[in-house]
């Protein structure tokens, strides 16, 4: 089972600030997914990154896949209270389609 580390575990910042969270592994992945989970709900996919070095933008969220496809980052510009939630990363399931998640970063944006 590949080991996924997400950091930081918790982050509480003021509205309008910028932040970056990380997803790291020693394994190489074909692709990596980022999800956001709001309280009391299931996770929802935000983006999939596939190519080493790829950068994808989703409004104020910027996702980057590392050149070696072992790590990824999520940068949020001018955070809003609506960004509050648990951010999870998960690589593709590999040969057996089994999807394993990192422990997540719990983000709280203070108004």
């Amino acid at each position: 089972t590949q080991l996924l580390e997400q950091s930081p575990q918790f982050l509480s910042i003021q509205e309008g600030e910028n932040l970056t969270v990380y997803c790291n592994s020693s394994s190489v992945f074909s692709s990596l997914q980022w999800y956001r989970q709001e309280p009391g709900e299931g996770p929802v996919l935000l983006v999939t990154v596939v190519t080493g070095g790829e950068v994808k933008k989703l409004k104020r969220l910027t996702f980057q896949f590392g050149d070696a496809r072992k790590d990824s980052s999520l940068h949020i510009t001018a955070a809003q209270p609506g960004d509050t939630g648990l951010y999870l990363c998960a690589p593709d399931g590999g040969r057996d389609d089994k999807i394993i998640f990192g422990k997540g970063t719990r983000l709280h944006i203070l108004p």
């Binding site: 299931g42 996919l45 998960a90 399931g93 057996d96 389609d97 422990k103």
Partner: protein, 112 residues
């Protein structure tokens, strides 16, 4: 609108009871998953099914079993519920070879 539906949002059961958590997906996905989510531990995979009647153990299968008699339905069974199985349970599905997991809304199970 694609959907994964879990039968209950909240459930309270007594220690020793047999508990069934049901999950249905309408996307004709081959793969279905059961996770439990606990504070500080993230989503941990309990069981995974890649086809009807096929299953594989995840990272924490002890105390659980599963059933997949039809493609759209994946059931998680707690044979004899214990208090340490109090948790949020999440069901998900993906197509074969797919990477995007679609989740249900979760079942918060309390065992007293």
């Amino acid at each position: 609108d694609v959907k994964v539906t879990q039968s209950s949002r909240y459930l309270v059961k007594r220690t020793g009871e047999k508990v069934f958590l049901e999950c249905v997906q309408d996307m004709d996905h081959e793969n279905m998953f059961w996770y439990r989510q606990d504070p500080g531990l993230g989503l941990r995979l309990i069981y995974f099914s890649y086809d009807v009647k096929m299953k594989e153990k995840g990272d924490i299968p002890e105390g659980y079993s599963v059933s997949r008699e039809k493609k759209e339905r994946f059931s998680l069974i707690l044979e004899s519920a214990s208090t340490n199985q109090t948790s949020m349970y999440l069901c998900a599905s993906t197509p074969a070879g797919g990477t995007e997991a679609f989740f249900g809304q979760g079942t918060r199970l309390t065992v007293v």
